[in-house]
Amino acid sequence: MSAPTPILEVRDAVKHFDGLRAVAGASFDVARGSITALIGPNGAGKTTMLDLLSGFARLDAGAIRLANRSIAGMAPHQIARLGLVRTFQLTRVLAGISVLDNMLLAAPRQPGEHIPSLLASPRLARQREARARLAAEELLETFGLRLKAADYAGSLSGGERKLLEIARALMTESSIVLLDEPMAGVSPRLGRSILDRIAILRQERGTTFLFVEHDMDAVMSRADKVVVMAQGRVIATGTPAEIRADSMVVEAYLGGLAGERVP
């Protein structure tokens, strides 16, 4: 079976912050329908990479292609409309609106968001709203937030905000979802249910996931493929088993963990 083109292709991406090369010529692919983990030590450039992919930072050099289309110079909302959504390492819930409104704001194809189409077809807007509400409630249920739907998002705890942000990202029905440390600050049980949900969505809808994570159990048990960054470069890619066996990765990042695992 020949491999289909990857949904995301990153080639020699470079991003400077003043003198610092946060991303220093990184290249990797994300296969369509895969769950790919992006790992590496603190400051490796992982979040910066997600910023580049989602349009929140501009490439200084190199190329990024999303579904065979260059996204260089595109604004975040344009990239989002091509079917890429991201969450933020430091959560960004919309504190002054309700949990449900956070979710509904993410609903795709809502004609009520544009005044001309709202006036032209208020019924369609209402129908979409009702359907979005069902989808939102189902997602909130999975993420243990159902009972908080009417609360202001600003009243949620840190972990709950993380969950809401992930649920909101999934609400967009994007074809690729970038998650920046989805497990950080979330209880182990809910962390597992996030991972289960991701696996189900990949199965059912073929959604692609690229997630940054420091929790190696999650990475090794759930990812199909692992991309390892260090000092702005991709130093290795492969299956979890290959990565664990890679001496360079072990040296750069996994050291302690690999030591524990290999008796």
Binding site: R92, G96, D101, Y152
Partner: protein, 308 residues
């Protein structure tokens, strides 16, 4: 206490109510600090005057064109300044309102410091007609009553319209922007376009308010549109509460009853001192309110944007 005096208070409350609906949309629901609202009001009012006096257009057509022109000005300000972050945008809008005032003060087309007069004949005939109707209920002695009714009818229609608009998915995007523009953009919303729409609608509301100002004072001169009047709007907003259109109506009534009602105080102060005292009283009331009820009378505490 004369009835005419209170009719005038009602006229001002209605005009500034319309004016502040726009600020509520911008500051309360989009998180946009628009400090140039008086500039849009001036553009609206002066365009009416110029279109009628210099171009000979009928008043109602002039009104529609004035609103369109104010919206165009809003787009121009938006396109040049909306990419700035919040506080810089606020300063840019103050600058805009100052530019408008200086232009009106010095340009020939606006009559300079002499101002404009003689544009409201069409309104006068409507006023005559309305007064003749009011004669049947023996209210025709109050010559400003038709204006009061016209302003409040307009205000209420606009209030209900804004309230309905606020319940749509469109307004949800605005509130998302107010909370976190980047996070909203990450969900695929063209936040710039929404901010532009918000500003354009506010400019239209300011122009409608400006139209009524021109009918009320019958004589347009630049100091009527002093940029500081925008802050009357913000005082009303704070009184009534951020995030509530009904609060705008209530805030505007309270503000003008306080500011004008204090004219009636019997004191031994000089006229200048008394007029300063009136502002002191309004200021103290605002401070008191901010201690007792920081979200304003009808405001929603949860929707108050906490500064990042």
């Amino acid at each position: 206490m004369s009835v005419d005096f209170w009719i005038n208070v009602g006229v001002l409350a209605g005009i500034y109510g319309i004016f502040t609906l726009g600020l509520q949309l911008n500051a309360g629901f989009t998180g946009l600090l628009n400090f140039g609202q008086a500039g849009f009001m001036a553009i609206g009012a002066y365009s009416v005057g110029i279109f009628v006096v210099s171009w000979g257009l009928p008043l109602w057509l002039a009104f529609l064109l004035a609103v369109a022109l104010a919206v165009a000005a809003g787009m121009l300000v938006g396109i040049s300044a909306l990419r700035l972050r919040s506080h810089h945008f606020a300063i840019a809008t103050i600058g805009f309102a100052e530019i408008v005032r200086y232009t009106l003060q010095n340009a020939e087309f606006s009559g300079g410091n002499q101002g404009l007069i003689g544009f409201d004949d069409d309104w006068r005939s409507v006023n005559e007609w309305a007064l003749s109707k009011l004669a049947s209920v023996e209210l025709d002695a109050y010559t400003q009553l038709p204006l009061l009714l016209a302003i409040w009818a307009t205000f209420l229609v606009l209030l209900v319209t804004m309230e309905l608009l606020q319940r749509t998915p469109w307004a949800r995007v605005l509130r998302g922007i107010r909370e976190d523009e980047d996070a909203t953009a990450a969900l695929g919303k063209n936040t710039f376009s929404y901010k532009l729409q918000s500003l354009g609608i506010a400019a239209a509301l300011a122009a409608i308010a400006g139209f009524f100002v021109s009918l009320n004072i019958t004589y347009l001169y630049p100091t009527v549109f002093d940029p500081t009047f925008t802050f009357f709007g913000y005082a009303i907003l704070v009184l009534g509460g951020l995030g509530s259109y009904t609060g705008v109506a209530l805030g505007s009534i309270i503000f003008w009853v306080l500011l004008e009602g204090t004219r009636l105080m019997e004191t031994s102060l000089s006229a200048g001192q008394q007029s300063s005292l009136r502002f002191v009283i309004v200021g103290l009331s605002l401070i008191l309110l901010s201690r007792l009820r920081p979200q304003g009378i009808l405001g929603n505490r949860n929707e108050l944007r906490a500064e990042p």
